[in-house]
Each structure stands twice: as structure tokens, then as C-alpha cells.
Amino acid sequence: MAENPAMKKGTVTPISSLFPAEEAHKASKRVQDTIAEHQEQLDQLKGFMNENTNLINLVQKLPDELHHNIMVPFGKAAFFPGRLIHTNEFMVLLGVDHYVERTSKQTIDILKRRGKGLENQLESLKAVMQDLKAEASFFEATASDAVDGLVEIREDYAEESPSEVVPLANNTKAAIEDDEYARILSRIAELEQEEEAEKANEFNRDNQIENDLACNTIQSFTDQEVRSSKVEDAILQSPSKDGSSHGKGPALDDYSMKKKVLELPEVKEKVQAPVTADNKVSHPSSIPGSDSSNAFTGSIVEHAPDIGKNSREQQTGARSSKPVSRFKMQRK
């Protein structure tokens, strides 16, 4: 999947990656097999209906004569010459070893009712066949598309609602993007909560306000188009980089937030304004533009392990008082 680095987010997917040609073929074959089975059943039903109609005609004609000269079968391989008698009396099987003696007219009624039942069955079977055929044709079309190398292109609206190109793909993709978006939002919310809580315990209010401002601006920009993958990278990268300095909890949060912020080109200038650097944290990674400030009032220069441990002791008291967030647990 390639991403357009343009205004709109866009994805270009070859259809063959979504519906590989082979699988589409297999699926269409399976559907065709089911179609063949149903076709057989259909033919059988038609045979029954024909038989029924013939029988109705026969039963109609028999009472015309008193006797009919026939060959009476004797088992499967022998006949007797004989005659049909009592030509108006018929013994009809109702099922489960129950027979009824009926006259010709009554028998015809019975047979007509049976015919109606058969017709209903036939109709339902035909409907099923139609659906199956539609499925099969869809699979065929997808298979041929995949083979031809057709490509599905999706672009997002400004409101983050994914476009409708292929309904199936749309659902899964929309679900994935919504999930990511929701996750990002939830993480950002957690970060905010952590910072606010910790800062209330240990640091200046000013910094808290500044950070709140930073958070808010970031929040507002996450409401707009967010490059979800890049932001995720930021969140994931920061823990790995600063793994050694557990003590710099708030600093880390701030740093990660800053990184996010700084990668959103529109946000960069705005963020620099509210975040006046009281303290400097020099990180080994490259920070484009100004120094990032953090919430500490004290001056913590480098994430040396010793300092990390000291501040960790300070922090543990604060931490134990509140539930540990998922984000922090991940970093640990």
C-alpha cells in the first residue's frame, strides 16, 4: 500500500492483494458446484411434477371404461395378462404406511394438491439458484479483475469518512482506520491525564498550564487530518529511545507529545509559542527547530541512569497513588 503525500490521504491497492485471483477462482468453483447440485435437485423436482401431471391425466381417463386389459406385472421380471377392474377405486399412499381408497375425482384433487407443494419447492429452489448465480458471477468478475491487475484507489474525505469504492474492502479498511484513530485518541487522552496528575503533585502550575495548552493545541490538530501511522510511530519510538530513563515520566510524555507536535508541520509554530523553555532537556535524538521544554522546574540535563533513579524515587510515590496507565506500562 502506497500513501500519497498530498493533501488528502489516499491508498492504492491492487485488487489482487485483496482478493487473490486464485482464491476468487476457488470460491467461484465452489459456488458453481453448489449450483450444479441445486440444478440436479431442480431437475428431479421437475421430473416429479411431470410424473404427477401424467398421473392426473391417467386417473382422469381410467373410469371411462369398465375394464381395461393390461399386463399385470409379477415382480420385476414377469407379467400376467389381466384386466383392471373397479376402475373408479384408487388406493393412494398418504405416507407412513397409510393408504386411502378414493374415487377418481378425489384422487385427482389429492394429486393436484401434491403438485402445488412441488411447485412451491421448485420456486424456492429457483430463488436460491438465482442468488448462487449472482455470487458466482461476482466471483468471476473479481477473479478477472484481479488477473487484469485492476487497482483500487481510496481517498478520505475531510471528515475522516472513508470513500466507497468496494463495499467489502471499505468495511474492513474503515474499521481498521477507525480503530487506529480511536486508539490514538485514547492514548493522547491518557497522556494528558497522567501529566496533569503528576504535575499537580510535583511541579509548577505554570508548566501545567503550558502543557495543557500544548495538549489542547495538539488535540485540536488531531481532530483534523492526522497521519495515523506516523503518529503511532512517534508514540512507539519514544518509549524505545528513552527506555533507560524511567524517571523522566512527564518529560517523556512531553517529549513524545512534542515529537508528535513537531511532525505536524502546521502545529509546529503554534506549539513553540506556549511552550516557553524553562528547562532544557537535551536528548540525543535530533529535534528540528527549537529546544523542547518540559514540565520540570528543576534542571534535568541528560538522561543519565543515576538521575533517572533519583527522580524515579520521587515519582513512585506519585505513581503508586494513582492507577498506572497503559502507556506507562508499555514503556516499562
Binding site: L55, F74, H86, V92
Partner: protein, 143 residues
């Protein structure tokens, strides 16, 4: 070497599944048909013997008109039976003639069954042989 082995084994198995097993199925189906015929004729013979024993000359029976709708039929004279002799012909027999014919027919059917049974046995033997061959091929490397 191993891949060659696998290939051979695969081919043998394929042979079994595609040639021998369907052959077996066919042969069994044919034999079942002959069994059926045999049963039909033995039933007929028993019926005729019954008729003879009880000196039944006329008969009241129910005839299936199709779809299990029956109608009464009367056979005034049962002494003449038309028996199916194959190829779509029915020959008019008296009772002793009919019984004669039926016994000869039964012999013929029994011989056919015998043939089919032998065929089935040989196919089964072939399948077993190929199995053994596969097993040999696979066991040697193990040993």
C-alpha cells in the same frame, strides 16, 4: 534422494486413488446389479412355486399406476406367464417352463457374480501391493 522418494510415493498414492479405487468402486457396483437380478429371479421362482403348490389359477392384485396410486387388477388365468428374457423380449411360459428358464438364468447370474468377485479381489490385491511398495520405500530410510 529424499525428494525423489517423496515423488515416487506420491505417484504411487496417486495411482491408487485415481485408478485402482475407482475401478474397485465400479466393479462393486456392477456386482451389486447382478446380485439384484439374482434376487429378482429367485423371488419369481418362489412365487411361481407357490402358485403351483396352491393351484392358484386366478389372482387379484394391486397395480401401481405411478406415484404409489394403486388400482385393483384381476388375473383370470395365471397359467401363462410372460418372463423377461433380456433384450426387451418377454416369452410366454407355462409354469414348469418358467421354472426351468429361471433356474438356468440363475446359474448364469451366479457365474457372472463369480467373475465380478474375482475381479474385485484382484483389484484389492493390487491396491495392497502398491501399499506395501509405499511402505517399503518409506521404511528403508527409517531403518
Amino acid at each position: 534422494m529424499n525428494s525423489e522418494l517423496q515423488e515416487k510415493v506420491g505417484r504411487f498414492e496417486e495411482f491408487i486413488d485415481q485408478r485402482l479405487k475407482p475401478d474397485l468402486v465400479h466393479a462393486i457396483a456392477e456386482r451389486d446389479k447382478v446380485f439384484e437380478q439374482q434376487k429378482i429371479f429367485s423371488d419369481l421362482r418362489r412365487n411361481i412355486e407357490n402358485l403351483e403348490k396352491n393351484c392358484v389359477t386366478s389372482l387379484r392384485t394391486m397395480v401401481n399406476l405411478g406415484s404409489e396410486v394403486y388400482m385393483q387388477a384381476d388375473v383370470p388365468d395365471t397359467r401363462h406367464i410372460f418372463v423377461d428374457v433380456g433384450l426387451g423380449f418377454h416369452v410366454e411360459f407355462t409354469w414348469p417352463e418358467a421354472l426351468n428358464f429361471i433356474s438356468e438364468r440363475e446359474e448364469k447370474l451366479a457365474r457372472q457374480i463369480e467373475e465380478y468377485t474375482q475381479l474385485i479381489a484382484s483389484i484389492k490385491a493390487q491396491i495392497k501391493m502398491v501399499h506395501e511398495g509405499i511402505r517399503e520405500l518409506l521404511e528403508l530410510p527409517v531403518q
